[in-house]
Symmetry: C2
Subunit: 309 residues, 2 copies
């Protein structure tokens, strides 16, 4: 069973592409195990949950959790349920952010958004079901029996805080609030740190916690995750400004049209690129003390700066 596969870090494929493809497979397998099949009642709800979950995401948050878990714990044994739970949280946030009352997007990952396909009511409920499922997974006996229970509780706490009213949800509130309003650099930082940074940081720290990381290690993953998450979001905003719909699988230039407060729309593409570089070198510096063990994260850091979708 690959869910319990114990591939050691030093056996991992050297290329990031292979590492990501392999782990995407593990994560998808775990998601498929935990999300009720579309034949389970209520069928439409479970179909909608799976529609958004299996729309071909990069699985970045799961992969970051797997990577930090492996760095601290030397194997990936037992981390896949956490990886799946993080993807449930991420997907719920996308479904709700796309709703007409929020960002009103009709295209996501190259397909109609959940409310376009299933209507608003089912989309809201599918999102609700996914955030709830995340905590069902994290408290399931198959998962909790593999780790000291105090550690599992710390992981649940970490994910819940990152997802809550002072994390991810705060980011979405500010993101909407600043639409068409004057924002300074501090405001933009606060938006992206919460909207994107919080869950990406939590992916790294929860993976590390689950593997038994000590406080200095957690501090390292926390700083790395924060910087990486912010760089990821600015890159996202840059792609919205310059990218094309086909490659991104979502409509572009929405931010400018809607007067969103983003780095590139407020300070220009050059300053945004500069900011990404700065954040990524801060991220790279943070993991310096981890030595060669953190090479996967170094490759991921590079990838974040260059990704085209």
């Amino acid at each position: 069973m690959s869910l319990l596969a114990g591939a050691r870090v030093d056996n991992l494929a050297p290329s990031l592409a292979e590492y990501m493809a392999e782990n995407r497979g593990f994560v998808d397998e775990a998601l498929d195990r935990y999300v009720p099949g579309a034949h389970n009642e209520p069928r439409l709800l479970h179909e909608a949950m799976r529609y958004s979950l299996f729309a071909g995401g990069k699985r970045l948050r799961p992969i970051l959790a797997i990577a930090s878990f492996e760095i601290v714990g030397d194997s990936n044994y037992g981390v896949m349920p956490l990886a799946a739970a993080l993807e449930c949280v991420h997907t719920y946030s996308l479904i709700h952010d796309d709703l007409p009352a929020m960002d009103d997007d009709d295209l996501r990952r190259g397909k109609p958004t959940s409310h376009k396909k299933y209507g608003e009511a089912v989309a809201i409920l599918a999102g609700d079901a996914l955030i709830t499922l995340a905590f069902e997974i994290l408290s399931s006996p198959e998962f909790t029996r593999m780790f000291p229970h105090g550690r599992v509780l710390a992981v649940i706490r970490d994910v819940a805080q990152a997802s809550g009213s002072t994390g991810l949800i705060a980011g979405q509130v500010w993101d909407m609030w600043f639409e068409g309003r004057v924002a300074d650099e501090q405001a933009v930082n606060r938006i992206i740190l919460n909207k994107t940074g919080a869950l990406i940081r939590s992916s790294l720290t929860s993976g590390a916690r689950l593997a038994g990381a000590n406080l200095p290690q957690l501090k390292i993953f926390s700083i790395y995750g924060e910087k990486l998450g912010m760089a990821f979001q600015i890159r996202d905003d840059l792609l919205d400004l310059e990218g094309d719909t086909e490659r991104l699988g979502k409509n572009v230039q929405k931010d400018v049209k809607r007067g969103k407060a983003t780095y590139p729309s407020l300070f220009g593409a050059d300053k945004a690129r500069n900011m990404i570089d700065n954040l990524l070198s801060e991220a790279a510096n943070a993991i310096e003390p981890l030595g060669k063990r953190a090479d996967t994260l170094r490759l991921l850091t590079e990838y974040i700066g260059q990704r085209m979708n």
Copy 2:
């Protein structure tokens, strides 16, 4: 600190009204501790969370959790965070159910619904924040340090399952799906068992679990909760049919107008009253083996059959 107050069951006030009033006070205090104040950023979000939480609910689910905890554990020491978390789940479900895309209600607990007061986006996010906060509370060190960690994880699992895609959310999906459609008794049972029964049952079983209940005890609370929850919902539907807006704090006769599949609207008030009586005597029978210790639940059972709001 009343959050940690160790009132023994045999010291409790004999009257149900006093018992409920006292515990409402404890629950509100716990909620006030756990929900960020309206001066915390984002202020509008926290204000909206508090607006719905402190709109004067009965706190039935918290009180059921406190009662089952006391029956198994002899004191209420440590149960208030669980009670508060259950109220967060319940309030989130009300906010989302009232949304225009769902039941489109504009009055709840005598006040404008969340989306009427704060707009749809903030209402959706306030609901999201409340379900997430429930799991943040249940994994907070102040709570988890008071109990064996395996027990806390079982409580989290219990609440997450009851709230998820095969519990509370399934009930809302079916409730909407059957609007204007032909429903039989089996369909109505399935709606109310999930929409209302699941979280009321979980309030009783999670309280009992937290106090260390054994399997036969859990079985008793599970059957009792299921029957009580279904009776509670039929009583609710009867009040919608016959009650008045002022006393209920919400608009009435909505179910008939909207073609909702409820017991009284499909089978008439008499058969509904009959069904409530049957369910409540099944509930009372279930807790028979608990003896005098379960007297609070007996008073609560009576109250559910007679409540006027």
